[in-house]
Amino acid sequence: MTLAALTDVEVDYARGRALGPFSLAIQPGETVALVGPSGCGKSTALRLLAGLEAPGRGEVQRTPGLGETAVVFQAPTLAPWLSARANVTLPLELAGVPRREARERADAALARVGLSGAESARPAQLSGGMAMRVSLARALVTEPRLLLLDEPFAALDEITRRALADDVLALWSMLKPAIVFVTHNVEEAVYMAGRVVVMTKGPGRIAADVAVEGPMPRNAGFRTDPAFRATVETVSLALAQGMAA
């Protein structure tokens, strides 16, 4: 059964067509990367999947109910006046989960992202990578069926990026949500996703839909595997053609 699907959607903004016609179906538990040039409508596609925006034309089907979709933005987007714990508790409190249970679940979610002991720290006291982990914990605390990540690691350095990519995959293997994430980085897309969807330059359409072979979560040597390199080349080529088209 399909978890969420966009069928022939088109989105127009005041400055012109942003996306489409574009179709994408997400199956439960799969990890999908959306790559494409700047301004191709990747983020718009993500907001359609989240139900945060409606398309001008076409159809959006979503099976996840209220609170079963989570979004992680490019910036950590934490409330500066709340502690890490209170930030993670927020989605549960909005859903009316009792305070004590919410607190326990938030602490468990922070422990899963390796932030035990930082529960009462404020966002300003955390490094960029740690703040992003709090943001991930907040997204996962409701145990969503659909997790959407909008260039989540773009502002981080390479080492933190790679560590977080492994963390996301480890978290995925625990809860098995479907993950859709947007990135500019082809290697990151191939490393993290079981399926890479390449978009053309804006208004975005599908240039290629590439399946990535290999174990999930990735093992240590995966980045140097010839199959990995070959997939990265395939995706890069499709991206170049999509930009020229």
Binding site: G51, L52, A70, A75, T77, A79, L90, L94, Q125
Partner: protein
């Protein structure tokens, strides 16, 4: 050493200016009703301090009452108008007119309404009008300043209007509200003093009346003494609010 110099420099300049002032008054035999030397002002401060203190308290207490009133009215109105765009548009021209009209121009009118029995009502009303605007505009801007991605997150989890207001918009507005109150406090004192001048009668016993009364009698030293107290009062109030703002912002930002 450098910090000591930084600290001492403004005081040294003040001392130098006072010395020049004192010396010039003596050297040129300036009449004391025209320009009183610092020594005469100090003597006046020493002799008059109980009545000056009383006058300062009169001005300050009215300014503080006005600040509290302005704060309550401005925040209540800002909350109301954020409920509807139409309401905000309707209210906006009136608030702008209130802001750009000089308080001294409406003071005589308000004095008539307050009547001669309660001249302090006019002071409070006028100072409230002046202090209202910075708090109101800070509140309106602040309530709209929430991070748009955090807004989306609240959408995603189906937050109610009340949850959005209490958990996102009000906390986001805090820095703007603090800044607005700091500006408003200074304006409340200005508003009080200006309307004391316009009231211009012995029934209003604030610092402005002391200045006015002393000027009628050509007691220049006493005028300077009242001005000095007024200046100190303003600086202390501003400094206190600056401290409160810094502490509150440190707490809000978490560092």
């Amino acid at each position: 050493m450098r910090r000591l110099a930084d600290f001492a420099a403004p005081w040294a300049l003040i001392a130098l200016l006072l010395a020049v002032w004192e010396g010039a008054c003596r050297a040129f035999d300036v009449p004391v009703y025209f320009l009183a030397p610092p020594s005469a002002i100090a003597a006046s401060l020493r002799d008059e301090w109980p009545s000056l203190l009383q006058a300062a308290w009169y001005t300050l207490s009215n300014a503080l009452i006005a600040l509290v009133l302005a704060s309550l009215i401005a925040q209540a109105l800002a909350l109301t108008v954020t409920l509807s765009r139409l309401l905000e548009r309707a209210v906006q021209p009136i608030t702008v007119v209130l802001q750009v009209t000089p308080v001294i121009a409406i003071a005589p009118l308000v004095n008539i309404w307050a009547g001669t029995d309660h001249p302090e009502h006019a002071l409070i009303a006028l100072a409230t009008i002046v202090a209202f605007f910075p708090i109101y505009s800070g509140a309106v801007t602040g309530l709209r300043s929430a991070d748009p991605d955090l807004m989306r997150l609240f959408d995603l989890y189906g937050a109610t209007r009340l949850q959005r207001l209490l958990r996102l918009r009000l906390p986001s507005a805090a820095p703007f509200l603090l800044e607005g109150h700091k500006v408003a406090a200074g304006l409340a004192i200005v508003g009080t003093v200006v309307s004391e001048f316009v009231a211009g009668s012995g029934k209003v016993q604030g610092l402005a009346w002391r200045i006015l009364d002393a000027s009628f009698r050509l007691q220049t030293a006493k005028m300077f003494a009242a001005l000095f107290v007024l200046g100190v009062m303003g600086v202390v109030l501003y400094g206190l609010l600056e401290l409160v703002e810094r502490a509150a912002l440190r707490w809000w930002r978490g560092r």
